[in-house]
């Protein structure tokens, strides 16, 4: 890959594993908090560990809220991970009163019927109709909150933890994962590789239709 994959610094999130995984699939990486980077069309990762409110505050302070929302709406190649997926929605129970990016309809809620919270470990991901980013497989999750209802306009894969929830969702060049592909072994690396390959195609041929 000539163009480095940009990784948005969302706060105190640990980025070493994301960087290591991207290196393993042959991509160079660069960290950024610059809105101009986010507005460009190259591949970008929106990671996230920590609280919804704190991450949105960081994005707002860096002037990244609108650029990120536009980018997702345009379908530019974006890989959102864990909290990164949750930030795409309207709001989260984790941080009442804080608006998310609002690029996907719905509200993030805490697991309410799960045996233990947080969900820590490997869960089966089942692709829904037309979901193309990965076949069924096991992915590593580390989350207390999730989106229960697949959002309209997105193709989704789901997992079950006290009820089904959105494990991953895709539209255009955007792939958002509630799990951590960078920690999901060969299955996760394959998913990241295919996202990156698709990103290159999106860059060559223009934005994919939604």
């Amino acid at each position: 890959m000539d163009e480095p994959v940009l990784i948005v610094r969302t706060g105190t999130a640990n980025l070493a594993s994301v960087e290591a995984a991207l290196r393993r699939i042959g991509a160079a990486t660069r960290l950024t908090q610059d809105p101009r980077d986010v507005e460009r069309g190259g591949p970008l990762v929106l990671p996230g560990v920590g609280a919804f409110g704190a991450a949105m505050e960081t994005l707002a302070r860096c002037g990244l809220v609108e650029p990120l929302r536009r980018r997702v709406e345009r379908g530019l190649p974006t890989l959102a991970i864990c909290l990164g997926l949750q930030l795409l929605f309207e709001s989260s129970e984790e941080s009442p009163g804080v608006a998310g990016l609002g690029a996907a309809p719905g509200v993030v809620r805490r697991f309410n019927a799960a045996p233990r919270v947080p969900q820590l470990g490997w869960n089966r991901v089942e692709p829904g109709a037309d979901f193309s980013a990965a076949p069924a497989g096991y992915a590593y999750y580390a989350n207390s909150f999730r989106v229960a209802e697949p959002p309209a306009g997105w193709r989704t894969a789901t997992s079950d933890y006290g009820g089904r929830f959105v494990g991953a969702m895709e539209r255009g060049g955007v792939l958002a994962c509630q799990f951590h592909p960078e920690l999901s072994g060969p299955w996760g690396l394959t998913l990241m590789r295919s996202w990156l390959a698709r990103s290159a195609a999106v860059a060559r041929e223009g934005v994919a239709p939604c």
């Binding site: 290591a20 470990g121 490997w122 869960n123």
Partner: protein
């Protein structure tokens, strides 16, 4: 459905894997990165690395070992040993750990748990508890690698840790550790029955049957060291047996 994790544990001192019996008589068990990579290839769901170095020089080596492990692994890595501040945790996370485990320092200063959870999120904070066997079925908590007793009870301390923001409990039975006589199921029942966060059973694993018992006693994950380091069994063989016994495990490593 979430699967039960099988987690090899590397006790690392001065850059080498060591393992003892009941926290004593440490033996060299090889290079941590080679070990961990082989365990991942064999189907390990996560790696725990506990730094048991006693010196500042050893601690610096530990961060370097974490960096090397991260470069080799694409599964989660939990690191503990000597973490007593947000800065310590930050250094390990920056080096490539995904979760940090706290033990002695959290007993001394429980606020450390909330500081870590507030900074990195609960899913990043593992409360490691070394529990002994006391009179009347009590489980006294020990610190400093089992070298010092406390007035805490493992069940109460786990609950308190959860309140403070720990997202997981790594529960080691000192009575069972390294003995290969099975996990301490009473300890597991007491703690796993009390808390709402995941519990990793540690200490005493010998066979897949021990792991099945641990899961029945409430464990969400099972940790093993000696039996794997000594080549008495493999992660793959353990998971195959767990699966046959009806425990859900991730069984696709090597198939992709």
């Amino acid at each position: 459905m979430l699967t039960t994790r099988v987690i090899p544990c590397l006790d690392v001192r001065d850059g080498r894997v060591v393992k003892g019996v009941r926290f004593q008589n440490l033996r060299d068990s090889g290079d941590p990165v080679e070990r961990a990579a082989a365990y991942e290839a064999d189907g390990a769901d996560e790696i725990v690395m506990l730094d048991v170095s006693a010196t500042p020089e050893g601690r610096r080596t530990a961060a370097e070992t974490v960096r090397r492990l991260r470069g080799a692994l694409s599964i989660p890595l939990t690191v503990g040993g000597g973490v007593s501040s947000v800065e310590d945790a930050s250094r390990l996370l920056d080096a490539g750990a995904d979760k940090v485990a706290v033990n002695t320092a959290a007993v001394r200063r429980p606020g450390l748990i909330s500081e870590l959870a507030g900074t990195f999120g609960a899913q990043c904070v593992v409360l490691a508890i070394d529990a002994g066997a006391g009179p009347g079925g009590s489980f006294p908590v020990f610190v400093r690698s089992g070298g010092e007793g406390t007035s805490l009870d493992a069940r109460d301390w786990a609950l308190r840790g959860q309140e403070l923001g720990a997202g997981e409990v790594l529960l080691t039975s000192m009575r069972a550790d390294g003995t290969q006589r099975g996990y301490d199921l009473e300890l597991l029942r007491a703690v796993a029955g009390a808390v709402g966060v995941p519990v990793i059973a540690s200490g005493g694993a010998s066979t897949a049957a021990d792991m099945v018992s641990a899961v029945s006693a409430g464990a969400d994950a099972v940790l093993a060291a000696s039996i794997l380091h000594d080549g008495l069994t493999t992660v793959r063989a353990l998971k195959a047996e767990l699966s046959r016994a009806g425990v859900r495990v991730r069984m696709e490593a090597g198939a992709c």
